[in-house]
Amino acid sequence: MCLALPARIVALSDADHAVVDLGGVRKSINIALTPGVAVDDYVIVHVGHAIGQIDAEEAARTLALFAQLSAVPAEGALG
């Protein structure tokens, strides 16, 4: 549930606010729930608030997993 999207922090406005970029669209959001985020971090934005952060390595790993699995079509069931 709950529409939320990953967006990159492009500027910190004050302790509680930042500007994020999503595909060229910029919006001011509240970052009070994600203390310590920095410019270029990707946060997950929900109702105008960052509620979490994207772990870039994990994301890459997940994508690699997708690719790997689908690249081995002949090997049958997982695991």
């Binding site: 549930m1 709950c2 529409l3 939320a4 999207l5 990953p6 990159r8 999503l22 595909g23 509240n30 009070a32 729930l33 994600t34 203390p35 990707y42 997950i44 929900h46 109702v47 105008g48 608030h49 509620i51 979490g52 952060q53 994207i54 772990d55 870039a56 994990e58 994301a59 790993r61 997940t62 994508l63 997993l65 997708f66 690719a67 699995l69 689908s70 690249a71 079509p73 049958g76 069931a77 997982l78 695991g79």
Partner: protein, 383 residues
Amino acid sequence: MKYISEFRDGDLARQMAEALAREVQPERRYNFMEFCGGHTHAISRYGIAELLPPQVRMIHGPGCPVCVLPIGRVDQAIALALERGVMLCTYGDVMRVPASQSLSLMKAKARGADVRMVYSAADALKLAQDNPLREVVFLAIGFETTTPPTALVIREAARAQVKNFSVLANHVLTPAAVTHILNSPEVAQWGTVPLDGFVGPAHVSIVIGSAPYVPFAVGYRKPVVIAGFEPLDVMQAIRMLVAQVNEGRAEVENEFTRAVTPEGNRAAQAVVAEVFEHRESFEWRGLGVVPDSALRIRPAYAAFDAELKFDLTYTPVPDHKQCECGAILRGVKRPTDCKLFGTVCTPENPMGSCMVSSEGACAAHYSYGRFRDIPMVVETVAS
């Protein structure tokens, strides 16, 4: 759009579909419930159902906060706006939820109520500060994802001593709902809802973490895979569930490692704990009264609790007689099992809440999946 587009790749999807087709055991049936409306929406909008092998059946769960908001709660909000003259602010999705007497917040607005759509809880507080002579009430709904922003705004209102702002809180708790479903007679006794596993919530888990789902895996022997809301995430989660079933495992697995940790967002949990406490019980549309399934504003913030401020009493109101939302939210029925689906009940004139939000099972099926109910002939005639 980084972290979005990659997870919608059509080529990968086709390959994954092929892999999944090979991975399912032909004689077996896999019944998975996607708890979240977000998954329901993704399945319908991207046409994921087309890509699943016939052995896999997805059951839509109750994870849409708009859908589970009971009539009596909307009635309270409408009464505040129409009879008490408050400026009632809420998220856009809530505007069309059907209430008593054929009303909704949108229809109440057409009858003169001052109802404002806000994008964020903070906008509601700002409206209160900009209109000091008006009482402003924020009708808050949502699962654990949406609760921290509400908690923040209440704390902010208290700090700024805003006297004309309060919150009608309807924040509910995911694990309680899952427990309720697992304990329901259809699942636990009669087996009429065969449940082989759950696709677990992505954004709720960002906040609460994956750990709260361990009891379902351990205690009820149901596999759980927490998954992102992009379509490849959903397909991957289904593959992971199929693997657990095939292997006889029942674990909490995390497909959404890029944003979900076992422990969740501690900062968000802290502000929620500061502002909210558990309610003994709360009515969910469809599920009925569920114990320990919602939050209420703590006494320390009582001044911002619209229920206390306006001395509201809750009157439960039964859903439309023929509306099957309740059964659909419990996974017992499908939208097309409802006599009103697509005739009396449409997104323009929803009779039940499942037809309101595009995360609702009825609305998602109506808007995206209806073609599947009829045999379709595509003929190309050169003219």
